[in-house]
Each structure stands twice: as structure tokens, then as C-alpha cells.
Amino acid sequence: MLSAGCGLGGRLQLPEGSAATSAGASVPRTSWASGRKGLNPTAAEGRRGVAGVCVGAPAVGAADSAWLLHTLRQAAMKDSLVLLGRVPAHPDSRCWFLAWNPAGTLLASCGGDRRVRIWGTEGDSWICKSVLSEGHQRTVRKVAWSPCGNYLASASFDATTCIWKKNQDDFECVTTLEGHENEVKSVAWAPSGNLLATCSRDKSVWVWEVDEEDEYECVSVLNSHTQDVKHVVWHPNQELLASASYDDTVKLYREEEDDWVCCATLEGHESTVWSLAFDPSGQRLASCSDDRTVRIWRQYPPGNEQGVACSGSDPSWKCICTLSGFHSRTIYDVAWCQLTGALATACGDDAIRVFEEDPSSDPQQPTFSLTAHLPQAHSQDVNCVAWNPKEPGLLASCSDDGEVAFWKYQRPEGL
């Protein structure tokens, strides 16, 4: 399997007089699809051994210069993502999600063993500082730190969301939020710290408000999606909520007269949207999907100078970039580094990829190049990637194999 699609569209600094004139050639996308037909994209079992870039001849007989370009690019990317360490976070089960605390000193992981683990550094290695058990009866699917770093929320398949309060190295469950009819798939804190959002397989998104006395109150139940809602994320500086669903859409919500309403629906993905990430400024949103693409969406407020039509006072969202042909399986997570702007993806082909925006590209039609590709980052599906909020280049990932890995990313020279 060749990731030929990755390098050919991007730019690579080559010495003068090189024969890379066919740099624009790209491997047609159909060479991917044909290899994947008949496989159930949601089946997690029995897909080991398929991953890995084998540096062999391209699937389609591309020109020699394109091949040269590809090999050089692979060489340049070789050390862009380096393994720092691995920990067996959730032995004998899956590790589903990771979250760094706002200070970047602790990493929370959750898994199929119904536990949440908190990891911290001790010298050069990562050790488990706390284990939060007795909180949930089933798999914990997501964890999220409050903006102040004192609270941790955990969303579980047992239909509840636990709020844990940090007390030095100990965590105590202070509240359990109930109300969803079945598995809670995601939880997210608003940057103001006063609002919390949860979403579930029951197709609804709940918005909760928390006051100074740690009392949680449901302010809205949103039934806009027509299928399982997989992920919720808040805008970094506006009170705007985004949700991704099995119904192939992304929906945005805002508060209007004491109630929350769906103000936009982003259509374009051809399959389940698994995860979302806002860029540091909040002007763009990245979404990743089972259709093996990452889409970048941009917000156009009313009266924008690009002439994009808006209805009423709500901004319009347009898809300004689609990254396709890079991933060979479902993309389960996307993370946008708030420090460097690099985009990392977690894929079902066991690989981790990093993309960076080309600095000279048009902001209305940006191009992203693949700057790191690590096949076999884990031995099974990579479920989550998370950038450290304080240390640029530090990336954590977790997988179905129950392990958490730490990586150092450095943008390669010449890319």
C-alpha cells in the first residue's frame, strides 16, 4: 500500500535543475477506494497487518520524477515525528481518549476498562499519578478538563457524565449528570468555564450550566441531529458549540433568547463525522470523517468582503479545503495545535499524520501539506491525538491496543 497521494500535491524544495517537473501529478483517488471495497469501515477487529507504507512502485504507473519526488519527501519526513515513550495505559482494553490539562502538566486517559488515569512526568518518563475508578459502570469514552484545570469531566457508555474535582493528586467525583437515554459519546467545557456540553447516541446534545456552588443545570436539549452524535467541541472564544454526527453533518449552535438553537449545518462529508477541532483563532473548523477526508471550514460573517451570502445575522460556513487521498481508513480524530497551527490526525490504519498549512496559500483557499506520516504508530487503530497546550511539538496518541504514546514533532526542513 503506497501513500503516493500524500506528497505529490505538495511542494518540496529540490536542487536546481532537478527533473521534478511533473510535481503536479497526483495519484487518482480511485486507486484507494478499490482496495477498500467490501471492508466494513466500522469493524475494528482483524485489521492488523494492513497498515504500513511499503516503499515500492506506485500503484499507478506514475512518472519517474513523481516517484523521485515521493522518495525525497519520505526521506525528509523521516524524523519529523519521533517517539518519546509509550505507556500501557489501559491494559487488555482500548484507550479511547486523551486530554491534556490547561497547564500541560497532566494527561488524562480513559478507556474500555471503565477507568480514567492521570499521567504526569517524573524525570524523563510518564507515570500514572491517579486512577479514577468507581465512577462509571461502562467504558469511559471521553474526558475533558475545565479551563481552570480543577475539574475533569468523563463521559461514559453508562449514559452518565461524572464531574471530578481535583484536590492535589486526588480526584473526587462531585456530581453525576444524568439525562441521556444511552451512551454519552462526548463532553466538552466552554472556554468561559460556565458551560458544559454532552452528546449521545440518543441523537441529542445537552448544554449544562454550572454556577459557583458547583450546581449543574440543564439549559437546553438539542435534537437537531438525526443520528448518533459523536463529538462536541466549543469555539475557543465565542459561545458557539459544534457537534459531529453519524448523519454525516456538523451542526453549530448558539444561544438565542435563553434557549440554544442550531444556527448552521455543514454538509459535505459522505460518511460519519468522527471529530472536530477549531483552529487557534476560531475562524476555521477542521472535521474528520469515516469517508477518509479531513475538511476545513471557514466562518464568513454577514457583510464579509468575500461576498459570501449569509442568512440574517448568522455567519455562513463554507468548506475551503478537503484533504483526501492521504488516509487509507477512517479518520477517528483530528487535533489542531493551538501553538503552532499544525493539524494531526488519528487514523484507523494505525498511523499518525501531521499536516501544515502552506504559508503562501490563499487564506480563502488554503493548501495543506503532509509534513509527517508515521505508519504503525500503534499496533491497532489510533483513536485520539492531542497536542500539549504549552509545549509546542509534544503530541500524545492512544489506540485500541490500550497504549498511550508520546511524540516529538518537528516540522521537517524544506517542506
Binding site: E178, E217, C218, V221, L222, N223, S224
Partner: protein, 168 residues
Amino acid sequence: MAGSQDMFDAIVMADERFHGEGYQEGYEEGSTLGIIEGRQHGTLHGAKIGSEIGCYQGFAFAWRCLLHTCAAEKDREAAIAAPMNRFALGRLPRVTEGSRDWQGLRSKKMKVLESLIGLIEKFPYDDPTYDKLHEDLDRIRGKFKQLCSLLNVQPDFKISVEGSGLSF
């Protein structure tokens, strides 16, 4: 000449003509049956939605009464307590901490309750072609779930008679 052509046409095209007539008859019969089936389906579906919304409305009315009664009692208690507080603490009369929080929460519950009742009453029951039908129904359901969460009540209604259980 024209006459003989028509006569041969009648014989030669007989097959197709019968086909066409048969199709017409079948189509009409099918349409009639379809309308009957559609009407039955619509009645059933409408009844289901009606009973669901009716349930929410009854629930909301009942809780409104309960909260009003509860409010009246608490107000009486607060009115009795206030002068004693003033005496004990030497401060200007004001409602005690506990009941102020309760007031805030109660007004939140009442607000959501009234909002739910408003949504239900505004819903156009006699217009099945209303374009925002499903959207409004989802809003009503969402409001109901939020209300249950605030009241700390589990929504699990079941009508035991004749087994026509409601489960949302």
C-alpha cells in the same frame, strides 16, 4: 379506406389496448386502496404524536399547580421567618439565603415549564403539511427532557390499561 384501416387497427392493437385499460383500472384501484391505507397510517401516527404531546401537556399542567402550591407555602414560611430574622440579626428584612436560592431555581423551573406549555399550545395540530412540524416536535421533546432534568424526574410514562404503553 380509412374505415378498414381503423378496423384492422382495432384488431391488431387489441392487446395493447387491453393492457392500457387494465393498467388504468389497476391504477385507480391501487390509488383508492393507497388512500385508505394512508389514512389509517396517518390516523395511527397522528394519534401517537397526539398522545405523546398530550402527556407532556398534562405533566406540565400538573407540575405548574404543584409548584404554585409549593410557592404559596414557602412564601408564607418566608413571611413568618423574615421579621424574626430582622429581630435576631438587627439587619434590614430580607429573605433568607436558602429561600433566595430556592426562589431562583423555582423561577427557572417555572420559566421552562411556561416555555414548554407555550410551545405545545402554539403547535398547529390541524395542519399536517406544516413545514416545521418535525422541528417543532423535536423542540417540544427537548424542552420536556430539560424540564424533567430540572425537576429531577425520570420520564418513563406507561399506560398499563390495554397495553398501549407510551415510551419515548
